[in-house]
């Protein structure tokens, strides 16, 4: 897979990460935090919702321990992503630590659906992760520095991430041997969106999905 093909793969994430990163940077500058902290947070933490949460906690002067616990719980969903990547990363070199570090919702989605020949898979994965992080860093720094003065009305552009998840769901549905998990996830997602509190919706729904997947393994594998 050449660089152009890899870049094309990441364009939807770019369309989502740059405006979302800008929203993050803008919020950070409104809390009167110097812009370079936006840079450091996006380089080291690199978790969209985690960084927004950190800002909210900054604003309410939460303790550092509280910030650690809240971030851990919010990002616990990433454990499921890692679980799905164990065999994929198994034969990679030490560089896989960057892949693990950079396993955001969107990067996971791209890695899991991209069809890279095994020979250059590690390199392609590294590029995808790195490009995605660059978009996020650029967005957050630009937002922190000049989010207030940009004239372009980009309201709604973050919908590209929703559309990305829709498209990748269809791709995975076509790839997956079993189709029942798809319909179960539809029900759980809908149920979770309506009934679970928004901040906990993702982790609760994922736990429920994992639970149903394991407990009903037999009937999932029956039929199709």
């Amino acid at each position: 897979m050449n660089f152009v093909a890899i870049f094309k793969l990441t364009i939807p994430v770019m369309m989502g990460y740059i405006p979302l990163g800008m929203a993050f940077g803008l919020l950070l500058s409104k809390l009167l935090i110097p812009w370079y902290y936006a840079f450091f947070m996006s380089v080291f933490i690199f978790a969209g919702s985690g960084q927004f949460l950190a800002l909210t906690l900054f604003a309410s002067q939460a303790t550092i321990l509280e910030i650690g616990i809240a971030t851990f719980l919010l990002n616990l969903r990433h454990t499921f992503y890692g679980l799905s990547m164990i065999s994929a990363f198994k034969d990679f070199s030490w560089k896989k630590h960057y892949l693990i570090f950079g396993l955001t919702d969107e990067t996971f989605a791209l890695l899991k659906t991209s069809d890279v020949p095994e020979a250059n898979r590690e390199k392609a994965y590294l590029w995808i992760t790195f490009l995605n992080q660059c978009y996020w860093i650029i967005g957050s720094v630009v937002g922190a520095l000049l989010g207030n003065v940009l004239p372009f009305n980009y309201a709604g552009i973050e919908f590209s991430l929703t559309a990305l998840f829709v498209v990748l769901s269809i791709e995975l549905y076509k790839k997956n041997r079993l189709h029942k998990p798809f319909f179960v996830a539809l029900i759980i997602g809908l149920f979770g969106m309506i009934l679970f509190p928004p901040q906990k919706m993702l982790i609760l729904s994922l736990c429920l999905a994992a639970f149903v997947l394991i407990v009903f393994k037999r009937s999932m594998e029956n039929g199709k």
Binding site: A47, N153, I157, A163, L172, A210
Partner: protein, 107 residues
Amino acid sequence: MESSYIIGSIIVATLATYATRIIPFLLFRTREPSPLIKYIELNMPLMIMVILVFYALKDVKWEAYPYGLAEIIGVCVAIALHVKFKNALLSIFIATLTYMILIQNVF
């Protein structure tokens, strides 16, 4: 806000985030994953992706005008285009454009 507070928080948040991502790799570093883990590995991504769609829609106000109509139309456009043309970039781009036009000019 003190810079030591911000820096300390960034370090802690970094470690907490990284921990959530590395846990499964540490657990299965030496042993071969069991059939159950392989089964989860095969089927969980599809479920995660579907749930992420709903997660992305979690802040929509369904009970007030315009009742999430822009989001529903946007998702339908993405599905229809993707089933018909199988071009991810096209589906995402047109769906996003549709959504932006709807929320900026219609609703």
